[in-house]
């Protein structure tokens, strides 16, 4: 039996998605550690995934589901590259504090 066909209304899924996304944004903005910032991005991505699935179910469109797979795949690749960068930064600078990594300015 499909989870979405139970009595939980569609709006709840979207609300959950919005809450998760907002948490991700807030985490991104206030956290200092690069790892946590990174995790916040993952959170936002998955919040978006949830909305995709919800709408796909609502409109019986398979495209939404496919997009989710794409996002997961890109997220996996991004995690691999991102964590490699994090390690490289830590090795060269000895810190992962976002406030200290601020060389990209004039």
């Amino acid at each position: 039996m499909n989870l979405l066909q139970q009595d939980v209304p569609l709006t709840y899924y979207l609300l959950l998605s919005a809450v998760l996304f907002s948490l991700g944004v807030i985490g991104f903005l206030i956290k200092r550690s690069l790892i946590t910032v990174f995790m916040s991005i993952e959170l936002m991505l998955n919040a978006v995934n949830l909305s995709f699935v919800t709408f796909a179910c609502q409109w019986h469109a398979i495209k939404g589901q496919i997009f989710v797979f794409f996002v997961m795949m890109v997220a996996a690749a991004e995690a691999a590259v991102g964590l490699a960068i994090v390690i490289a930064i830590f090795r060269t600078r000895g810190t992962l504090s976002v406030d200290r990594i601020n060389l990209m300015k004039l």
Binding site: V25, F28, V37, V98, I101, N102, L103, M104, K105, L106
Partner: protein, 689 residues
Amino acid sequence: MNESLHLWLVPLLPFAGFLLNGILGARLPRRLVTFIGVVFPLASLLVVLNAAFATLITAAHTCEKCGPAAASVSFPYVEKFARPWLGPNWISLGALQVDFSLYLDQLSLLMLLVVTGVGFLIHIYSIGYMAGEDGYARYFSYLNLFLFFMTVLVLAGNVLLMFVGWEGVGLASYLLIGFYFTRKSAADAGKKAFIVNRIGDFGFLIGIFLLLASFGTLTFTEIAARYAGFPGINLVVLNGALSLAPAHALPSAALTTAICLCLLLGAAGKSAQLPLYVWLPDAMEGPTPVSALIHAATMVTAGVYMIARMHVLFDHSPIALNVVAIVGAATALFAATMGLAQTDIKRVLAYSTISQLGYMFLACGVAAYSAGIFHLMTHAFFKALLFLAAGSVIHAMGGEQDLRKMGGLRKEIPITFWTMTAAVFAIAGFPPLAAFFSKDAILYAAYIHGGSGKVFWFVGLVTALLTSLYMFRLWYMAFFGEPRSHDAHPHESPWSMLIPLVILAVLSICGGWIGLGDGLGRFGAFLAPSTGKLPQAATGSGGVTEIILTIVAVLVAIEGLLIADKYYRRQPERPAQIAAAYPGVYKVLVNKYYVDEFYNTAIVRPLLAISKFFLGWVVDGAILGGIAWLLGGIANLSGAILQRWQSGNLRSYAAWLAAGAAALLLFSLVELAGGWPASMHLISHVAGH
């Protein structure tokens, strides 16, 4: 019907040579460069000769048998080129229709023969003269480029195409004068030639615009056709069936004069006449064969050719014709006096060229166009020969051009000496050499010309004396007496330089004979259809007058020889004494009447100052610089403001990103709700509950 003569090959073949040598020349072996450089002008010459035989032999044939020949090519022969993808005409702008046509009549055929013939000989000569030089391929490619443009100029069927060739030969001349561009004087001379010519070309261009405005066409035949029923000074002989234009289709006399004067300015620039002659002596900075080809035999005669080509217009403007004659006579005399005091062998010849061009202008000015063209032809032979022989002398002296350091070369370089002798006697007007006939025809035409004709004749006669004097001065100083410099070891030039000398010497001796007879004989009869007949004396005593004038001219030439003989052979110390006795006159002559200095102070410096102030300071500094500064300032300022966003702080970027996304969301929400007032209402409605 006319069979095709393939005239388009005449300019295009040298152009192919220019492209090949210009692009690949530096990488090709020298032999191949020589082959390319010489074979294309030769091919062009062969096409011209084919055209000459096709037209001349047919003419003789029809004359003898009085019937149309099978494959006759008759004058005027026109080749038109249509461009299938752009319409039939070269330029097609409403009323302005200019076709791309080549026009061959007696005049252009003669010019073509001179240009390609003398041009080919000078190419041969250059093989020997330029053998040791750097930029060998560059030299030949420029020379071929010159031939391309010169043949376009000569063959052009309308004024605009002629102007293309006109500008093109100016370019080639500039490139070749500045051939030794590492030498500052050569680069400056090239610039001077180009800029002075620009003044003349400006006049020519205005003349073209006036022609277009008053005739609506630029084609030579169509302009001539307008005058078909209105003979000017000469009875205009026109070719082909032409319709009579009504009188009101012709421009007024004042407008005709204005057109002619504009064209004359152009001709004076190209042909180095007063007051634009100053570039030619400096043009001697180029290699000597270039001086022979461009600055003596062909390019500088383009002005005379142009006037002869447009003679229908000049015939209808007595004022303009008089101006042409005055300019010509004044230039002839003025340049001859300057030639007297020069010590550089090439400069003597340069002033001589200016002086002889003055003769040609004088001939055109008294409406004796065929005499002018005749002198153009003979001058091409003997002046090219003089320059080439001078080049051979310079070659023999190891680059020395100063006459005062030459002397006694007669025995050392006999072939050069004898060919030079032929040329010197020819230019001085000794019978029966070439210039005797042509100069005589001009002087006679001037004499029988009414009004101020006698004055022109007298000026021409004095010039003839001076010509004879400075040419024999050069001859004696270079070839007679004792060697004045012992550094040089004179040696005869290679065969490739001597063969053109010998051929040109033969032409200088025999070239005048085709003009033998009444009204220039066969030459005059041949040219009459395109330039009109020579003016004849009104009274029946023409023959006697002509003989007397001829004797006077010959006596004057001999007088010049005797004076030169006295001062430069028997008493070589006398010229210096005379110079010391009249220091003022001598100084003025040596400094060429201070014309260059005058132009420098009166025109060049004020122009330079104005340019520096107005163009350099106001336009470049204030306007252009100001705009650039303003634009740069705006960019700088906005950058200074915007760079504050680039804090380098990751979280501030993220915050801007989130804020932007939120703003977009809000915006789309507002749009969905239907504009601002409604959404404000919605929001307040939501807030209210």
